[in-house]
Symmetry: none
Subunit: 254 residues, 2 copies
DNA sequence: AAGGTTCAATGGTATAGACCAATATCGCTA
DNA sequence: TAGCGATATTGGTCTATACCATTGAACCTT
């Protein structure tokens, strides 16, 4: 069917993935596992393209993907280097919770309710764009402000993008913080929705409210720069504790 | 700005700006001055590259620049279109109701519950930036989809900006529609917030739900392009009928 | 040593050509 | 008329090649 799929390290994808994306993912993986470390110089474009048996332009397309992620430093006449991980706070916009709370000086903690490795069901797999039964991390966290529970968070993330996620501290850091600092993956955009729902007994118990109390349900699907899903989940906010401010502002045109 | 045409002249200088950047800037300018308008279809890549006397790959590099800025919509097999400005795209979110419903082919009606001319209290006056006791229109509408009530809308608007508002049809049109067509005022941006609340007896009665049912409360303050307030109000959505979609897409350039 | 020059290698740009998958359109069929 | 299928067109990808400006290091001069 597709003649290019295994040109670079056999990927378990059943769809036609462009060559340059495969190469980009391959390099991304090598960065993540530490085979390529920050400040390390990559082989030249001509060498790399030759060893990967692709044209230089295709190799450049792959490097551009990583460059757009901020993972590379490229200098004409010199070479291409692995960038040092950014500590920048860009993902803040995606996570109103930790951000807004910490900025107000509140203490934001999390209690891990459940952490599992599951096999993706059809609905989850289609959202995360992984094969059915692919391994995913599933976890729930109860988030607290000044020891008061205000948010029940449920996340599903693909294992192949976040290997050994369980080794990281999930009790004191936002998901996006971990994703960015530990995996050098920058959340780019997300599709979200908000609904008003009633608290179930389980949710009410955890959040310390009466069953049937109005909660804000936020469904979320976050992507990286190339449109690959990073996280699928939903958050339940206490209705009496949260207000979602959504200013709609004009755009500049330089 | 440098002309694209100097590519053939071959002077020893002026090589500072790459061709594809010149083309991108040229197109950006044409969009800015209105020569290219939103939703307009651009010539195909092959045509454009031919008319600009550059290779298709170079033209594509230029389009990629604009695409990364979110200024283009590109569809394989179809064509490349000028994206609607962010303002317009986001403006849809100002009125999720009429917009989303009509686009799905539903009939959207409204029942006027109350329409009054009031004198602005302090809180309202400060929001709308009118003097205390200035006249304002206050009205509530129950909005229906296929005769089923789903939204209770409350609006307060300054009389001085919308004289004779009562003469217009408030039973079948969105507020923003009236504001735009009758007063030639285009809502520019707004401050909104979303909360999950319990339905009061009054609200439950109108919306046809049980008291205490979760509702979505949207508070809203809309402004024109000069920053003057147009409308202050709040909407109560049936929690079981609405989902607020809020895509987050931070812009980035390279 | 100190400073300047040469030069090979690098990333950036640009071209021409080719094939592919998705899409719209139009004409044909039932 | 409604539905279907062939076809041309479009954007997406990939190759092979070429030239450019920048860089850094080896080399040379002083």
């Amino acid at each position: 069917m597709d003649s290019v799929s295994n040109k670079v390290s056999g990927e378990p994808f059943n769809v036609a993935v462009p060559l340059y994306v495969q190469i980009a993912e391959s390099l991304l993986e090598r960065i993540r596992v530490g085979e390529l470390i920050p400040d390390q110089r990559l082989p030249s474009e001509r060498e790399l393209s030759k060893s990967l048996n692709v044209s230089r332009m295709t190799l450049r397309a792959a490097l551009r993907v990583l460059d757009n992620k901020g993972l590379l430093i490229r200098r004409p006449g010199d070479g291409t280097y692995v960038a040092r991980p950014k500590i920048e706070r860009q993902a803040a916009k995606l996570s109103p919770f930790t951000e807004s709370m910490r900025s107000r000086g509140y203490q934001a903690k999390a209690r891990l309710i459940i952490f599992e490795r599951r096999l993706a069901e059809v609905s989850v797999a289609s959202k995360l764009k992984v094969p059915v039964s692919a391994p995913v991390y599933y976890f729930q966290r109860l988030r607290l402000i000044n020891k008061e529970p205000v948010l029940l968070e449920t996340c599903t993330m693909p294992v192949y993008r976040f290997p050994n996620l369980e080794t990281h501290d999930l009790e004191d850091r936002s998901v996006y913080e971990i994703v960015e600092t530990e995996y050098s993956i920058v959340p780019h955009h997300s599709e979200q929705s908000l609904e008003a729902v009633s608290a179930t007994d389980f949710e009410a118990e955890l959040l310390g409210v009466e069953p049937g109390t109005p909660l804000m349900l936020e469904r979320r699907l976050a992507f990286d720069k190339d449109g690959f899903p990073l996280e699928y989940g939903h958050d339940l906010y206490r209705g009496d504790r949260f207000r979602f401010v959504t200013e709609i502002a004009p755009l500049e045109m330089k």
